[in-house]
Amino acid sequence: MSVAAHTRKLQARRRVWRVQRQNGFTAIEVLVAMLVLVVGLLGYFDTLTASGSSITAAERAAEMTQIGDQTLQSIEALPYASVADSSTPTQTTTTDETNPTYYLVTGPVAGSSCTTAAICYQWDPTNTSSAEPVALDTTNGKVAPGPTVAVVPSPNAAGCTTTATANCQATFAVYAFVTDATDPVCAQTGVTCASSTSYKRITVAVKNTGPGAPFSPLYFSTFVGNNVGGSNNPLTATGPTGPTTNCLDGATTVPCTH
């Protein structure tokens, strides 16, 4: 065999060897790929876990919103005389500002309408002069100041109640404070208000008492006035032959439904 022929033979073997090498992975390549895969999977599961807890936090916030809204609406639906706390709300902390009872104070509070040594609620956390007397009526009041327990059962898990919360997916504390609000217009010169209570302020707070976020309570607030009226109310007054007030729907007279 000539030198040239031997060289061609060697070159041919190298080509074959190169083809064989392109059809597989080296051990290093496999190891690197596995490492990347493991890292990626770890990241994925980490994200999945984190996202799982984040979604639960969002769900908890949604539940808190629903509970707060429902509580507020149920209080608004009460007769005016019943819109009052049925028992004295109690301050359970003087340090934890995320506890709604932190803003319960015993009067008097300077610069506020809380002028006696009664229990008052500071509805604006940033302003002590917002303290108002709690509307307390142990006879007619139908609003439990709380905290009352609200729960969300875990899927397919029995035994979650407001008194046994071990199997619950989420637990919340609901607070409802009713205060006597004096409208600022009553302080204007020449304005005479018939009563120190212009309307009642309802403040509902829902706090997550389970693990995880949200860590701050959600607050829902509105006013309720005594707007029933009786004979002074055109919509409730009746004459000898029935209601004297009706409504006009286009050109048609119809009963007023309200």
Binding site: A33, M34, V36, G40, Y44, T47, L48, A50, S51, S54, I55, A58, E59, A61, A62, M64, T65, G68, D69, L72, E76, W123, D124, P125, S130, D183, P184, V185, Q188, V191, A194, S198, Y199, R201, T203, L218, Y219, F220, S221, T222, F223, V224, G225, N227, V228, G229, N232, N233, P234, L235, G239, T244, T245, N246, C247, L248, D249, V254, C256, H258
Partner: protein, 411 residues
């Protein structure tokens, strides 16, 4: 290559999950803010209604309910059925109504919710009390000092024998200036106002007395020993009664005459409110001419611990259309009352001193002792202007337009 594909899929999955997490959190926060904003909007509507009823003004306003929640409202009067507002146009077969529309927007963390409320009130009748204090229609005579915070008006001669220390307006006919024989002029806090035309005093319809005659709570009054209540004549007489206290619970009462006896501390004590006492003479069918007096031979007080004089109202039909020397129908020695008194065709004689809180219209008033008045008028009396009391009639949650600047929404 395979590993890269898996990594790409995982990355896409993670991004998707992350977006879902952020979206869910954002949606949750928005729903919470929207609910809080709805509450704030309702609070604004309630504040607007209270201020409308308190001041009668339709000014807009703003306020806070804490936790970053605020409201802004506007009030507009509705004048025709085509004016847009929640609900339907309200009408009444017997009385005119006033309607207003309250639009309130609550905002929490940039999320706003708006509501609209139609409110309705009876158009307030003209006040029976044209002066925020004391109106002595035909004439006023004071032998003692006249003080207090009130307006004093008359279409006749006013005579002040002693000091005038009152704070308020002294409204007299320009042709008949006050007679002040001791040169004790109305000055300082007392502001003289010469009226070029007589002060108009609205008339309470005789039907109001007839209605009280038909339906009243007279049976709820327990008259103490010594009194005799005759339901057939609607009169109360007494024999040897001194310092009696008669309790009147909330209700409407109708009498042709009441004699409360003697003693310095006779008392009409009101315990719940409102109390309306009609003393008739000829408006209804039961009383006869010459009746219609409420008397006590010495002192009399009408107590009212509600703090609102308007909660106790006394109406005397008197002797219309007398303009001078009306029959004496409310006469005592000294008296104090915390009530509104409407007696344009009656004479009131206070032989001693008098202390009054409320508003009054008297035909002729003679006070021989010191007279002190604190005006506390009902809505619409005198210079305070008429104020209607509105009540909610309809409510709607406004739906925002589906496109920016669109008109497909409501309110």
């Amino acid at each position: 290559m395979f590993a890269l594909l898996i990594l790409m899929a995982l990355t896409i999955g993670m991004v998707g999950i992350g977006a879902a997490v952020v979206g869910a959190a954002h949606q949750s926060a928005r729903e919470s803010a929207a609910d809080s904003a709805s509450g704030a909007a309702a609070a604004g509507a309630e504040a607007a209604l209270f201020r409308l009823n308190t001041t009668g003004a339709t000014t807009s306003g703003t306020g806070s309910v804490g936790s970053n929640a605020s409201y802004a409202y506007a009030v507009s009067m509705l004048t025709s059925p085509s004016d847009p507002c929640a609900g339907l146009w309200v009408q009444n077969s017997g009385q005119s109504l006033e309607q207003a529309c309250i639009t309130s927007t609550g905002t929490v963390n940039g999320v706003s919710e708006r509501i609209e409320e139609r409110v309705v009130a009876y158009t307030p009748a003209a006040s029976l009390f044209p002066v925020n204090g004391l109106m002595a229609v035909n004439g006023f005579t004071a032998a003692g000092d006249v003080g207090g915070t009130f307006d004093l008006g008359s279409n006749g001669q006013m005579t002040f024998t002693n000091q005038i220390t009152m704070t308020g307006q002294l409204e007299y006919p320009s042709a008949i200036p006050p007679n002040t024989p001791q040169q004790n002029e109305c000055s300082g806090n007392c502001v003289p106002v010469a009226e070029s035309t007589p002060i108009s005093v609205p008339t309470l319809a005789a039907s109001a007395y007839a209605s009280a005659e038909t339906s009243n709570n007279d049976a709820a009054v327990s008259w103490p020993a010594g009194f005799t209540y005759d339901p057939s004549t609607q009169t109360v007489t007494q024999s040897g009664v001194n310092n009696a206290t008669v309790a009147f619970p909330a209700g409407t009462y109708y009498y042709c005459g009441v004699d409360l006896g003697g003693g310095t501390t006779s008392m009409i004590q009101t315990t719940s409110w409102p109390v309306k006492i009609y003393i008739d003479s000829t408006a209804g069918g039961r009383c006869t001419s010459g009746t219609g007096s409420l008397t006590a031979s010495n002192g009399l007080s009408i107590t009212n611990s509600s703090g609102v004089a308007d909660n106790v109202q006394l109406y005397f039909y008197g002797d219309p259309p007398c303009t001078t020397s009306c029959a004496s129908t409310f006469a005592v020695n000294s008296q104090s009352y915390d009530a509104d008194v409407y007696a344009p065709y009656s004479s009131m004689t206070v032989a001693g001193g008098g202390t009054f809180t409320g508003v009054a219209v008297i035909g002729d008033l003679t006070a021989n002792g010191a007279l002190t008045v604190t005006a506390q008028g009902p809505s619409g009396s005198g210079a305070t202007g008429s104020t209607a009391t509105y009540y909610p009639a309809a409510h709607t949650d406004c739906i925002p337009p589906t496109t920016a600047g669109g008109t497909s929404g409501t309110c």
